[in-house]
């Protein structure tokens, strides 16, 4: 029983970095970034390739660098479009959708669609506690989740970069007039998010396996969390844990094949019952509590 | 049209604070006040684009407080917007044509069955008639986005008329318009009152215009009505002078 709760917590930590990334990008750039799922899938596959030649540390670094370099022009374009203060959310939505489709299928061709585990040894149960046990990979997931939360909270609420993010999120026009440098702030948001998501992807590969389509399901869960979670970081965290708990519970009771439906059913239910909440992101609010 | 103790809050500020206003037919009423006095908010609540926190709105004896905006429009409440809302990609004629009520071709089934074809000539003539009435008939086939600012404002009035509005709520109908067109617009409003029996409420900052054509002036400040009477009375009112000076 407690093992189940432990597992649910760790599952939530697996999604948390991605959810925070989506939250940040959605607040600052005002579109749903399917590019997140592209990053989630791309980085670990690159690590997989590089680790044949290099050690794990070096290949991780190289994978991140390569992924960020590849995605840099797209990121810069996104930053320009958002900075031009025109309503670009649909255009960027479709753009990111296209990038997702591109990435998923390119990876499918290059690596095939069979699941590829990154490193089996990390899954072995290493830590045994009275309330449950988990492997090194799961411990890392927990750490990465907590670190993402700490990083985003700190950056967003305490630093001047975060202040810029808050300004852009609440009123881009005004921010531009007042002199906030928008492009740089947006690029920073995208990059930070990408690093968090890439890390989460690698950990997923360590924990289970890599498939070309894994990004989409994690991303959509994040979208549900962000829409329901609202403008505050605490909301996002809370909803993330609640949703994953619910998902695992239903998987346990009814079976794992209904897993995916839970998140989306939750979202639709929320949209029916509380449409104003779903739209709350568009009102100007800072989101630091 | 009557409102009773209307209140509307926005994030803690009282945008509209206990406004009770009664407007009777065949008059031109001007709503004046400094920026942020709550005039446009009042329009939004009355026409149904914003829900009030407390209070009721009555139109021709009916309680319309919870009625959807488009239904109120159907009852005869027409309005224009401060930020000039028009369908720019359609021509001026098409804009007015759009506003004509009860068109057969506006549902999927109606469109597919071609029910609109029989009345097309009649509708086109009707739309043209309103364009001529407001005085921009020569722009009929130009895209609404290409008209001059003053012509666009006249077009928005034309759309209200095409819709069959009995009460016209006009938000700054002559602001920013060149003086020649201002005169034409004001004449139009007077004609509407006399010939068509319309009731007009306008929000305006142009005091000459207000003094010229209003039968009654209502002044607002910080969400409350501070004066209500003939143009001369309101002009002399101390409260109004203070509101504008402070």
């Amino acid at each position: 029983m407690t093992q189940m709760i432990l597992n649910a917590c760790l599952d939530a930590c697996a999604i948390l970095p991605v959810a925070l990334d989506v939250w940040l990008v959605y607040r600052v750039c005002r579109f749903f970034p399917f590019t997140t799922s592209a990053v989630f899938t791309l980085v670990p596959y690159l690590v997989c390739s590089f680790s044949f030649v290099l050690g794990s540390g070096a290949s991780t670094l190289l994978a991140f660098s390569l992924a960020l370099t590849l995605l840099f022009p797209i990121g810069w374009y996104i930053a320009s479009r958002v900075a031009s203060c025109q309503e670009a959310s649909l255009q960027l939505f479709l753009l990111s959708l296209g990038i997702l489709v591109l990435t998923q299928n390119s990876l499918s061709i290059v690596y095939g669609s069979q699941p590829i585990p990154l490193d089996m040894s990390m899954r072995e149960s290493l830590f045994h506690f009275p309330f449950g046990s988990f492997g090194l990979s799961r411990a890392l997931i927990f750490l990465w989740g907590m670190m993402s939360l700490a990083l985003i909270s700190l950056l967003h609420c305490k630093t001047s970069l975060g202040k810029r993010w808050q300004a852009i999120a609440s009123d881009p026009e005004l921010s531009k007039i007042v002199g906030v440098s928008i492009k740089g702030a947006i690029a920073a948001a995208l990059a930070t998010g990408a690093i968090l998501t890439g890390g989460a992807g690698i950990l997923q590969g360590l924990d289970t396996a890599l498939t070309p389509h894994m990004g989409l399901s994690v991303f959509m869960q994040s979208v549900v969390v962000v829409v329901i979670g609202g403008r505050r970081i605490s909301g996002v965290v809370g909803v993330c844990f609640a949703m994953v708990f619910l998902q695992d519970l239903i998987a346990y009771m009814i079976g794992t094949q209904w897993h995916e439906m839970v998140a989306f059913s939750l979202l639709l239910l929320y949209m029916v019952v509380y449409p104003r909440g779903a739209r709350s992101h568009t009102s100007s609010f800072i989101g630091c509590q | 049209m009557t409102t009773v103790a209307l209140k509307k809050h926005f994030d803690g500020t009282k945008a509209v604070d206990s406004v009770s206003l009664s407007i009777f037919g065949r008059t031109i009423v001007s709503l004046i006040g400094p920026n942020g006095a709550g005039k446009t908010t009042l329009f939004n609540v009355v026409t149904g684009f914003l829900p009030p926190d407390i209070g009721r709105v009555f139109f021709e004896g009916r309680d319309v407080t919870h009625m959807a905006a488009f239904r109120r429009a159907r009852l005869g409440m027409g309005r224009t917007f401060q930020e000039m809302r028009l369908i720019r990609r359609l021509s001026a004629l098409e804009n007015v044509w759009l506003a004509l009520p009860n068109q057969r071709g506006e549902t999927v089934i109606g469109a597919l069955l071609g029910l609109h074809e029989r009345e097309e000539k009649r509708r086109r003539a009707e739309a043209m008639r309103w364009l001529e009435y407001v005085g921009i008939a020569e722009t009929a086939n130009q895209l609404a986005g290409e008209l001059s600012y003053g012509q666009q404002k006249l077009l928005t009035v034309g759309c209200c008329l095409g819709m069959g509005a009995k009460l016209l709520l006009l938000d700054e109908p002559v602001a920013g318009v060149n003086p020649a067109l201002v005169d034409r617009t004001l004449e139009l409003l007077e004609r509407l009152r006399h010939e068509e029996g319309k009731t007009i409420v306008l929000i305006e900052h142009n005091m000459d215009a207000v003094m010229r054509i209003s039968d009654r002036v209502v002044a607002m400040d910080e969400g409350r009505i501070i004066a209500d009477g003939t143009p001369e009375e309101v002009r002399e009112s101390a409260a109004v002078i203070e509101a504008y000076l402070s």
Partner: protein, 295 residues
């Protein structure tokens, strides 16, 4: 020759799907990612009903498909249409995934991932259509009828209303039009056309499985509309021509079929990206999704 027939048939079916979605995306400005739901409903209705021994089952199955699609469209529309652009897209996306899951897992009705094979050929009265030519004619007629219906709808005051709603819904509401009803009715209308396309698709392929319900399918139909050009009647036809024939052409050049499906998706993914950056109005479109050219 039969290969060419095959491409043309698929092209016609997807063109009709595109035309239906264009009414939503190009004319009303609603980005719907759930068209594959209706495609699948039509396909499965035909598949299941023609397997049974009901007389006149093929035409009946089309009607049943339309019926179920309309009901689903009403439900999906009622929920999603309260929201603006990207939330609307996400809502329809969610529906798509939920329905896909249901179709995959309710094996009692839908045979799950195994799919339904051996779908009999369409039988209208005594006429049985089996040959490629028959299907080509049928799909071509359907595509032409779709364009005709769409044209009639668009040229009527209805079309004008849709374009007005796309540009400024508040304005239209102030003109005493019930925009909510209008958008839902467009959604239902598009779903009906998609359902018929699905029925044709199932009869042609004689085998369907839940992959027809995937999100990728919805994205593909959306890509056809966007790349071809939203807001123009012929846009989706061009888009379908491009996105259906190009991958097939590559296959002719010797690309192994294992990568064929992925290549098709890479092509339309790349086309979508390119389109959004350099030509948001698509090939021939009048309506661009960039707000500076919107309307």
């Amino acid at each position: 020759m039969t290969y060419l027939c095959h491409i043309l048939i698929i092209l016609n079916i997807y063109a009709s799907l595109g035309i239906a979605l264009n009414l939503l995306v190009g004319y009303t400005g609603l980005l719907s990612l759930s068209q594959a739901v209706f495609l699948g409903v039509g396909a499965y209705s035909t598949a299941l009903m023609t397997h049974s021994s009901i007389p006149c089952s093929w035409p009946l199955s089309i009607l049943v498909g339309i019926g179920i699609s309309s009901i689903m469209a009403l439900i999906i529309g009622a929920i999603s249409l309260r929201f603006r652009d990207d939330l609307f897209a996400i809502a329809t996306f969610s529906f798509q995934v939920i329905i896909y899951n249901l179709m995959q897992n309710l094996t009692g009705i839908t045979e799950g991932p195994l799919g339904i094979s051996g779908i009999p050929s369409p039988r209208i009265g005594c006429v049985v259509l089996t040959s490629y030519w028959a299907f080509l004619v049928l799909s071509l007629v359907f595509a032409i009828v779709s364009i005709y219906i769409a044209r009639r709808a668009v040229l009527a005051p209805y079309g004008r209303l849709l374009r007005a709603i796309r540009e400024d819904e508040i304005s239209v509401t102030a003109m005493a039009k019930n925009t909510a009803t209008l958008r839902v009715s467009t959604f239902v209308f598009a779903s009906m056309i998609s359902s018929i396309a699905g029925s044709l698709y199932a009869s042609y392929l004689t085998y369907i499985d839940p992959s027809i319900f995937t999100v990728q399918e919805s994205i593909f139909i959306l890509a056809i509309v966007i790349i071809g050009g939203p807001g123009r009647l012929w846009g989706p036809v061009l888009g379908a021509a491009l996105l259906v024939s190009l991958p097939e052409g590559l296959r002719l050049l010797g690309l192994p079929s294992s990568v064929a499906a992925n290549t098709r998706q890479i092509l339309y993914g790349a086309a979508l990206v390119g389109c959004m950056i350099w030509r948001p109005q698509g090939l021939v479109g009048k309506y661009s999704l960039r707000s500076d050219e919107r309307g």
